[in-house]
Symmetry: C2
Subunit: 180 residues, 2 copies
């Protein structure tokens, strides 16, 4: 129930533009079909990060990865799933520090689930705040775009410029607006 609702809400947000949504849906869905084991290049490709970064994450203690006969990394399904999670968290702005803490809790065992939940909830709230911040900035930028131009305004016609009437009438330089 809640899940469907969440998914739906998220997918609704995508409607507008194309490029992102493809990888994005990928990220949401490919938890299902993770191969038995993968090479570093394959994982890097999957997560759209560099092998360097993958090695860096391992050095940072975020995942343990087995080696094959040649000493090459072999990522099992669990490691990949963890990396999907980690990548998502990084992408949404969780610091390495916190991720290291979280992982240490995971490795510490079942009894740490409450604390892990706290961390997740905290991060959720951080994301929400950030979205609100960005939405506000977006509004400001949209406003600026809409009221931009005055004398010169080639792209502006496509936007609603009617509300410039609310401003002091002064074609070349606006008065109540930032001078830029």
């Amino acid at each position: 129930m809640a899940t469907d609702e969440l998914m739906t809400r998220a997918l609704e947000m995508l409607g507008d533009d194309g490029p992102l949504s493809v990888e994005a849906i990928h990220r949401l869905t490919d938890l299902a079909d993770v191969p038995e084991s993968m090479t570093i290049a394959e994982v890097a490709d999957l997560l759209d990060i560099s092998p360097h970064t993958l090695r860096y994450y391992e050095r940072a203690g975020l995942v343990e990865v087995a080696r094959d006969g040649n000493g090459h990394r072999v990522y099992d399904a669990q490691a990949v799933r963890r990396l999907v999670f980690l990548t998502r968290m990084r992408l949404s702005g969780m610091p390495m520090r916190d991720l290291q803490h979280y992982i240490s809790l995971v490795d510490a065992g079942q009894h740490t689930t409450p604390e892990r939940l706290d961390l997740l909830i905290e991060h959720r709230d951080t994301i929400r705040r950030r979205i609100r911040e960005l939405t506000l900035s977006l509004t400001a930028v949209e406003y600026k775009i809409a009221t931009y131009g005055g004398s010169t305004g080639p792209d502006v016609q496509s936007l609603d410029t009617a509300d410039r009437t609310a401003l002091p009438y002064e074609p070349p330089r606006r008065a109540a607006l930032p001078a830029d």
Copy 2:
């Protein structure tokens, strides 16, 4: 018209939590009542950044600021308005580089408005992408929170855990979910 619409949309987003909205609305509205001139401390306070950062922005060529008899900075209304803008752009993730470029266009005169508009539009799209990214991550985190716990789940009851029925029934360790 469009303005009201934008504002309304932005303000709608705030409803939930308190702390951010206060400063946020501030940022949107205080363009109106900017004093004649301000000290560095006052501006720093207004923008919620450090005097150090203000000096840094000046060194970076983003604003010119006059000095008084003692060599102290005197921010006039125009400088403050520009800094409000700059701070907003920084907050929404525009790199210093781009801001420097933008400001150089502003200082180059009226004929650069089309290019400035391009930059603004580009940044608007960047913000939109970022919001969609974050919304997706948010959904993932919310999903994880909702399906978390299993045996141990004190905070989980407050959330809808009904859809765990969609997962393989396995109390202590989940199967189809990331093992963390």
